[in-house]
Amino acid sequence: MSVSDLFDLLILALLITCVLGIARVRDLATAVTLFAIYSFVLCLLWAHRGAPDVAMTEAAVGAGITAVLFFTAIAKIGRREK
């Protein structure tokens, strides 16, 4: 196994852990936080796969503005999942 494969494996393990966490939590703000982490890590995967355009979109949209807008919406509707 090459070091590049090891990198991919670590990234995928991080992603899966994040997703399981998102599915498990009841607190919406926590879910959004985990989603931001997911986007950060996914962006690394895109970059490693040679797609810097997608990586930049993922970093800008997924981790940045989506989390901000989600937090704004949560501030409006409350944190608990009904």
Binding site: D53, M56, T57, A60, V61, I65, V68, K76, I77
Partner: protein, 240 residues
């Protein structure tokens, strides 16, 4: 019973997906179907047809121009949807114990954060412009630059003043709406000029200078329009 059904469904779906992944061609090989079908043509002809050094931008603006137009329209539609939803809903219900009136609460902004945000804002704006204008050579493009610009505007709206009441409602509402619609408008106008001058929707002019100008105008339109839409979404969600 429902749990069992869901489990069966997920297992079936998972089996299909795993089978598909197992049958995927080895990544990186040159003779997989992805590389032999149409991409070869894109890669060969993309540079001449696109007028952009970044092949992704070239493909997005030429072979996929109508798709991209749809995508640009989607974000504008999202703003309209959020505006409609927030203006139709009643007064905001909060999950806390009492319903505070946010207009009257004044928590002072941390002077450290305020200083750093105001210090960094011009640099962020310059970088956003760089991402927009260099989108046809480097990674990035109008939309990514617009997102960075929108993030900067949101930061300024939250942290530039001493209280939370500060808003950047400086622009007259009419102009604001036109700027928000800038992305689809500029893209559509470009498509129509292409139709007028060369008979094809979304075709680029032949002369390199004009092609460059059209690209820059397009990226700026998408970027600034996108930033305005994001700030609009933020404000609608925060106040509506």
């Amino acid at each position: 019973m429902r749990k069992f059904l869901a489990l069966v469904l997920i297992a079936a779906l998972g089996a299909v997906l795993i089978a598909a992944v197992v049958n995927l061609p080895e990544p990186g090989t040159t003779d997989s179907p992805v590389h032999t079908h149409v991409s070869a043509g894109y890669i060969k002809g993309g540079h001449e047809a696109g007028g952009a050094d970044n092949l992704v931008t070239a493909v997005l603006l030429n072979y996929r121009a109508i798709d991209t137009f749809g995508e640009v329209t989607v974000i504008f539609t999202a703003l309209i949807a959020v505006l409609a939803a927030t203006s139709l809903a009643g007064p905001t219900e909060r999950s806390g114990t009492q319903n505070i009136d946010l207009k009257t609460t004044r928590v002072p902004v941390s002077p450290v954060v305020s200083f750093v945000v105001r210090l960094m804002a011009p640099f962020i704006a310059t970088f956003a412009l760089f991402v927009m204008l260099k989108g046809h050579e480097l990674p990035g493009g109008g939309f990514q630059g617009g997102v960075v610009l929108g993030a900067m505007l949101i930061l300024l709206a939250l942290f530039s003043g001493r209280t939370d009441k500060t808003d950047d409602e400086e622009l007259p509402p009419g102009l604001r709406n036109w700027i928000r619609a800038a992305g689809p408008l500029v893209f559509g106008a470009l498509g129509l000029t292409g139709l007028v001058f060369s008979g094809w929707l979304f075709s680029l002019p032949d002369h390199p200078f004009w092609r460059e100008m059209v690209m820059i105008g397009l990226e700026l339109g998408i970027g600034i329009g996108g930033a305005a839409v994001l700030v609009g979404l933020f404000r609608a969600l925060r106040e509506g």
